[in-house]
Every structure is written in C-alpha cells, then in structure tokens.
C-alpha cells in the first residue's frame, strides 16, 4: 500500500467520532504517555546493579504471583458466578451480593488481618488450641499466603464480570445443549466457559493489573515483586528515574498482554442477537443435597474474603474503639462517600465515551491505541501521580507565567484529584463495559442505523439498555476502588479533604494495625451501600427486560 493510498483511506475513514476519540484519548492518556516516554530517558545509575542482583527475583516472584492468583480467582470467581446465575439454592440471593464484598477490604488490610488471624496467639492458633494442637501454625507471610490474600480480595472482579455475562447469556444455547443430552457439567466446560472467555478475561485483566501493582501487602509479607522493586529503586536507592523506568517497562508488558488477548480472539464472535431473557423462574433446582453443597461452595470465598477479615477487624476495633473514635469520622465517611460517588460517575462516563467513540470511529490505528487509556490501572498509583503532576504543573506554571493566575490552581484541588482517579481507574470501568458490549450483536445497532437513526439515538434506544448491567458493575467496582485508594489520594488531595483510607493508613503505617481497623471497617460499610443498592437495581433491570 503506498502512501497516497493510505492517506486516502485515512481521509475516507475519518469521521467526527475519530476526532472526539482522539480528544478524549489525549486527555486520559497524557499521564500514561508521560510515564511511557520516560523509557527514552533511560534509568538511573543503579540500573546495572538492579539487573545483576535483583531484577530476576522481581520478575520471577511477580510471574509466580500472577500465575497463582489467576488460578485461584478463576476457580473462585467463575464457579460462584456460574452457580448463582444458573441454579437455585438456599441463600442464593444473599450470596449473590455477598460475593462482591471481599473487594471492599483493602488488600493491605486483608494482609494485616490474615497475619493477625494466623499469627502467634491469633484466632487460628486459639482454634487449634481448642483441639489441643495449639502449636500448629500456618505461615501466611510468604508468596503462597500473599497469593491467597490478593486472590480473595480480588476475585470479585472475575465474579462480577462473569456473572454479568451469565445473566445476560441467551439460555437457548444451553437449553439446546441440554436437549441434545449433554450434561450440565459438560455443557459448562464445552459451551459456556469458552463463550464466557472475554468476560472472564476482562475480570482477570483487572485482577492481574492490581496484583502487579500491589505494594503494601507484598512488602509486609516480605515478597520482592516488580512493584516492590519500583519502590525500592525510588525510596531506597533514591532514583525516581529508575522507578519510573521500571514502571514504563511494566506498562509495556501489560499493554502487550492486552493486545495479545485482543489479537487472539480476533476471529471469534461472541455476540448474541437475543436480548437477555434471564429465566428467573427457570433457574435449575438441583437435588437437596447438591443445593446445600452449592451454598457451601459459594460461602467459602465469602468467608475467606469477608467474614474472616471482618471478624479480625471487629476484634481490633473492640480493643481500640474508645481511643480511636472521634466525631470527625462521620464527616470523613461522608466525604469519602461523596468523592467516591462523584468520581465513579465521571469515570464510568469517560469509559463509556471512550468505548463508543472507539466503536464509531473507523480508523484501525485509533481503535488499537484506545487501549492506551486503560493502562493506568497497571502501574502503582504514585507513579500515576507523577504522570499527572508533570502535565498539570506544566499548565499551572504556564498560567502563572501568563499572569492569568497567581498560584497553582489545578494542583491540590479536587480537579487534579478527580482527574488522577479517572486516569487510574478507567480500566475498572472500561473492562465490564467492554465485555458487556461485546455481546451486543452488531446487526441490532446496524438495523437501527439503516432505519435512519444516528449513533446517539441508537445508543440510547438499543445499546444503553443492553449494557445497563455492565454499567452498574462498572460503577460499583470503581466506587469501591476509590474508597480504598491511597497513594494518589495522599499526594494529590486538597489540604482539607480527608478520606477513610488516608485515616486507616495513618495508623497502619505507624504499625498501629489494630487502630487502623476502625477506618477500615468504615470503608467496608460504606462500600456496602452501592454494592447492595446497585445489585438490587441490576436484578430488577434484568427481570424487567
């Protein structure tokens, strides 16, 4: 293809959506590109030392961690999602939203809680003591314990994305398979699991990004990962440039993985022309004994990821409540809720625009690069903060130079904070939206367009109702994530804003874990609100349609 031809093609494909996409992409990916460009600046002077002594260890541990976590989250997430959307069993309705809750426990708090439960004279050793084997201890502070702790706090990503898929999945496929005499079990592996792949992977991508950038839990458990290495190069070696360089490499790896996944399913079609007619009355009713098993199976991850850590937190709160509690906590909780709600709305909106502008745009290159926008989730929040600070300070300084303002107006205000959150959490909103929109058959929207409706009208009439479930999942996930968010908040927040996560960190970083329990518990309670509220909406919508 010669240049002229290419140009012609570009001109032909260029529409206003391409321009809008370019605009929104530019806004959200500036911080990421800022970090990415640091690859060309090269690392600091200790790079050779890192290569020689520690990099292999970082890579090995991160790889193992990612592997273990993938296995556990798929096991927990997909199994439970399948059971609650396909079968009827006792406590199914409660379990349906209980399974989201582990997400509300910040990973580092989960790590502390598990260390507490399995520590000397912890709950576990007391339990063992009751059996007369009090000396028996399970050591969780290693890479296996870390994998478990991260997995149980993150599996809800996979659970939510696969459940959204299962709920909307046209059941006629399954009915057909069952009618042909294929067992439920076999249909699941032969039919549903492969079909659900994009949804599962969408959740898994989020899990892996979060696992890769975890710092608190890994450093407490003494596991050196790529991200603890990033922090070590910065804080210990005093080379922020090396830290950013390592982050840029991490970005490249994750970008590569995302593209690979997209490329791998390039010829597959996962859409369904049928509107979800979820058979609420037609959930299968297995035998009584099996029903009980299903309840137990779904309860295990809830117990590990929510009940157990919350019990430990409550024990700690009981010890420290009188010392830690102040009235201030009420206003801090309200503020945290407000910020999370506001930012989650903005983030979901941006993700929606990004997704549909990408779809309406016809230029291939832009379609691929739209994935750039979601990379913020893979790198540590504090590196994103640098990515946001550099351009926003640039604007601020320019404004001061031109005498438009007299001091920094973007930095340390809500604008910069919300912007940073959007950049950081766009992936969390984008993945569930994308996976739910993948199921919409193009022919539906195409017919609408053939009938003379524009993109916007088609969107509101056809696509919006179809992806509502994904929209709600996206919102809950981002909301909870923002409640927990720490490093960005610390460095970007306005002076007079305070969040529960900040409060909890103040205690935890001072090794006062038991005092950190109260704000952590409040985070969990606040996260409950949308989780329950929106779950109800999700069910109502599904049953109405």
């Amino acid at each position: 293809m010669n240049l002229k031809h290419r140009f012609f093609k570009l001109k032909r494909d260029l529409n206003r959506w391409s321009l809008l996409l370019l605009l929104i992409l530019a806004v959200v990916s500036v911080p990421i590109l800022t970090i990415g460009l640091k690859l060309f600046d090269g690392p600091g002077e200790s790079w050779n030392h890192i290569l020689e002594y520690v990099l292999f260890d970082y890579l090995k541990n991160s790889f193992l961690l990612a592997l273990f976590c993938s296995i556990i989250v798929i096991l927990f997430g997909v199994t439970t999602a399948w059971l609650v959307s396909r079968f009827e069993f006792p406590f199914r309705k409660q379990l349906e939203w209980l399974l989201i809750l582990p997400l509300s426990v910040p990973a580092y708090i989960m790590a502390y809680a598990y260390a507490g439960v399995f520590g000397y004279s912890g709950l576990f050793s007391k339990l063992m003591g009751a059996f007369g084997i009090g000396d028996f201890r399970i050591e969780v502070m290693n890479i296996y314990g870390l994998s478990l702790v991260l997995s149980i706090s993150l599996f809800p990503y996979v659970y939510v994305s696969s459940r959204t898929f299962f709920l909307a999945q046209a059941t006629n496929l399954l009915e057909a398979s069952r009618m042909l005499g294929i067992s439920e079990f076999k249909s699941f592996f032969k039919l549903i699991f492969p079909l659900a792949r994009p949804a599962i992977i969408a959740g898994l991508v989020l899990v892996l990004m979060e696992v890769l950038n975890d710092y608190g839990a890994a450093s407490y458990y003494g596991v050196s990962t790529f991200t603890t290495g990033i922090f070590r190069s910065w804080f210990s070696l005093g080379e922020p440039e090396t830290a950013i360089y390592l982050s840029a490499i991490l970005l490249l790896i994750v970008f590569g993985l995302i593209l690979f996944e997209k490329w791998q399913r390039r010829h597959l079609n996962f859409t369904s022309a049928k509107m979800s007619k979820q058979n609420y009355n037609s959930r299968l009713k297995p035998k009584k004994a099996n029903q009980l098993w299903f309840t137990v199976i779904c309860f295990i991850p809830v117990f590990l990821g929510f009940v157990l850590p919350v019990i430990q937190l409550i024990i700690w709160v009981e010890q420290t409540f009188s010392k830690v509690w102040t009235v201030e906590f009420i206003s801090i909780t309200l503020e945290s809720f407000g910020i999370a709600f506001l930012t989650a709305s903005v983030t979901v909106l941006v993700a929606l625009l990004l997704l549909f502008f990408t779809r309406w745009n016809k230029i291939e290159l832009l379609k691929t690069s739209s994935k750039l926008g979601v990379l913020g989730y893979a790198i540590p929040g504090i590196i994103i903060a640098i990515g946001v600070l550099i351009p926003s300070l640039y604007i601020d300084k320019w404004l001061i130079e031109k005498n438009i303002t007299s001091k920094l107006i973007l930095n340390a205000t809500l604008i910069a904070l919300v912007y940073a959150y959007v950049v950081r959490f766009l992936a969390v909103a984008y993945q569930p939206l994308e996976s739910s929109s993948l199921k919409i058959d193009r022919s539906l929207s195409d017919s609408s367009k053939v009938l003379g409706k524009g993109n916007f009208k088609t969107f509101f009439k056809i696509e919006f109702p179809l992806i509502r479930a994904g929209l709600l999942s996206a919102f809950i996930l981002v909301f909870i994530d923002i409640l927990k968010e720490l490093p960005l908040t610390l460095i970007m927040k306005p002076y007079d804003v305070n969040t529960l996560a900040v409060k909890s960190f103040e205690y935890a970083s001072d090794e006062m874990v038991s005092s950190a329990a109260l704000p952590s518990l409040l985070i969990i309670l606040t996260a409950l609100i949308p989780a329950i509220f929106l779950n109800k909406l999700l069910l109502k919508n599904a049953s109405n349609s």
Binding site: Y120, S219, G238, Q319, G338, F341, L342, I386, Y495
Partner: protein
C-alpha cells in the same frame, strides 16, 4: 435512575462544601510531612491556636514529598519538610530543595550532631536502633556490639525486618561510615547467615517472633518497644514484656541513633512562619508531647523522655554527623542486595 442523580447531587454538594473554604490566607504555613502520629496533629492544632497561623498539612512518604517539591519547583507551596530519618533530609538538601535558616533559639536548643552543618535542617526527636533480646533465654552479658551479631553463637537467632526499611539502611550506612565498605559488607552478610527467618513484617513483628521463640534477638527501634508495652492488644503487651533492651557499642562508637527532622523548603513562601513553627516544636512544652506520646527521645536536652525510656537508662550515642547516613544510603542498599538481605 432518579435516585442515582439525587445521590450524585448530594455528593457534589458535600464535596463542594469542603473545598469551598479555600480562602486566600497569607498567614499560613504548608507542612509536607512524613510523620502521621496523632500527637503531631494535636501539636499542630495547638500551634494554630497560639500563633494564629493556619497550617496546611500534606501527608505522604518523604520521597514522594521530595519528588513533589522538585516537580513543583519555584511554585511549590511547601514551607517545611518533616521526615522520619536524617537520610531523607540529606536527600532533599542534595537536590537543592532546602535553604539555610538561623535562629539563636534553635541553635541554643539542638546539639551540634543533630543538625545539618549548613543549617538547612534540624532534628526534632531521636530514636535509637537497639537489640531487643529474650529475657528468658539470653543474658545481657552475652551482648556487646552490632559487629558481634555476626558471631557464630547467634546462628539462626537474629530477627530483623527487610532491608527496604530505612532504619536498617541507616544502620548499615553508619557502619560503612565508621568501618569502611568491605567491613560493612562482611557484617551484612554475617547477619544474613544468622537470621532466624527471611525478613518480613515490621519491627513489632520481630519482637513478637522473639516472644514466640522464633529467634532470640531482634534489631528494632526503641519506640516500638514503648508502643508494644502500651498497646491495647494484650498479646502485644506480653511480647513487649518478654524482651529487654540492649544498647550496643557502648564501649566503642556508641549506639546508632537517627532523627525525625525538619527542614525549610527552598522556595518557602512563608519563611518567617516556618522558623517560628520550628522554634515552637523544639521548645519544652511541645517536645514533651512530640517525643513523649510516641516514645521517642526529645532533642531538647531540658526535656525528660517518657518513663519507659528513662527506665532503660542513659546511653552513649554514636556522634557521627547524620548527613553521612544519607551520603552512604545508596551504598548500603547496594550491599544489602549483594548479600541477599531481602
């Protein structure tokens, strides 16, 4: 849908109210601080009441704050930087982010080895890195120096946290400064060989491990023992009681100390307020709260430390210029990596 919109409006309102009260106020002071102790917040409040100066607090790790200051450049709103170790102040100073300040009051209070020779920062509180040993199994006569920790008798007995921790880095930096690089490397690798387990957890966890017989010695900072003994968790109190404190190197160079300190930002918009703030923190009233509630040693010699600290007795400090800790920090980390101290 309607409900969601209501909620959204309420959220915007709540958040909006909060960020609305950003009045232009010239009589203020912006504090970048790594410390997040409750006693600090109480002191800050007291300073605001006494001086009428409004404090803006930015709380994050020292390295992040240093990075933020360097990105902000001349426009940085920061007036002072508070860290929990001298190495970070050295780092800020060497990146040209601090400026000299002088006050006869400060000069008269702070001993020479606890402040920067160019007057860019001063220490506020001291902490000592000591050996906590099991009362049950170890006799204090068996202990002598940091160097002695590499001896055969401590094989599988030593508990210490990760080398990512700044206090370990500073300790090794001190050894580099006193004894040279090769001895420091031998020392670190000797300690690694004697470790009871791979490093994990924080200082408190090391003491708990001693209490539960996983090892006999823990290398920890003094104030964590104070905190364990005053914890609400009775297991922590018991762990604290099971150990005694030993101040190493009393016959030789002295026990390693570090400071939590404060420097004035290079582009501080309110330098006078900054100096006033530092003077406030160093005076007796503030010092006893600042150090006392956190079980640190006050730098003001006229202020008595907390009772627990007094019960451990006086000790000889290593008087090495604290800037050296910063100077050798990187070398220390590189040695840790080489000898496999995780």
């Amino acid at each position: 849908m309607q409900k969601i919109i209501y909620l959204l409006l309420i959220s915007i309102f709540v958040v909006g109210c909060k960020s609305d009260n950003k009045k232009e106020d010239s009589n203020e002071l912006t504090v970048y601080t790594h410390r997040h102790y409750e006693s600090d917040q109480e002191l800050f409040k007291r300073f605001e009441e006494e001086s009428g100066i409004k404090l803006n607090i930015v709380n994050a790790s020292a390295d992040e704050l240093i990075q933020k200051m360097s990105l902000e450049g001349e426009q940085s709103p920061a007036d002072v930087l508070i860290t929990v170790d001298a190495g970070r102040l050295y780092r800020a100073k060497s990146q040209n982010l601090l400026q000299s300040f002088s006050s006869s009051l400060i000069d008269s209070i702070v001993p020479k080895h606890l402040k920067d020779e160019d007057g860019q920062w001063v220490g506020l509180t001291k902490r000592a890195r000591v050996i906590a040993y099991s009362k049950e199994r170890i006799d204090s006569t068996q202990l002598s120096t940091y160097e002695n920790l590499t001896s055969q008798e401590w094989e599988d007995k030593i508990l210490v946290r990760s080398s990512s921790n700044i206090y370990n880095q500073s300790l090794l930096a001190l050894i580099i400064a006193n004894k040279g690089q090769q001895s420091a490397e031998d020392w670190a690798s000797g300690v690694v060989e004697n470790m009871a387990r791979a490093p994990k957890g924080n200082d408190r966890d090391q003491v708990k491990a001693v209490a539960n017989n996983e090892g006999d010695l823990a290398i920890v900072n003094t104030y964590y023992i104070g905190k364990l003994l005053n914890s609400e968790d009775k297991n922590e109190v018991e762990a604290g009681k099971s150990v005694d404190i030993f101040f190493p190197n009393q016959e030789t160079t002295g026990t390693h100390i570090n400071v939590s300190g404060i420097g004035v930002a290079k582009y501080s918009p309110n330098k006078e307020n900054a100096v006033q703030f530092i003077e406030f923190l160093l005076q007796e009233k503030a010092q006893s709260i600042f150090a006392g509630s956190n079980f640190e040693y006050p730098v003001n010699p006229n202020v008595e430390p907390a009772d627990i600290l007094k019960s451990w007795g006086d000790f000889k400090e290593d008087n090495l210029s604290l800037n050296k800790l910063g100077e050798y920090n990187k070398e220390a980390v590189i040695i840790f990596d080489k000898v496999g101290w995780k």
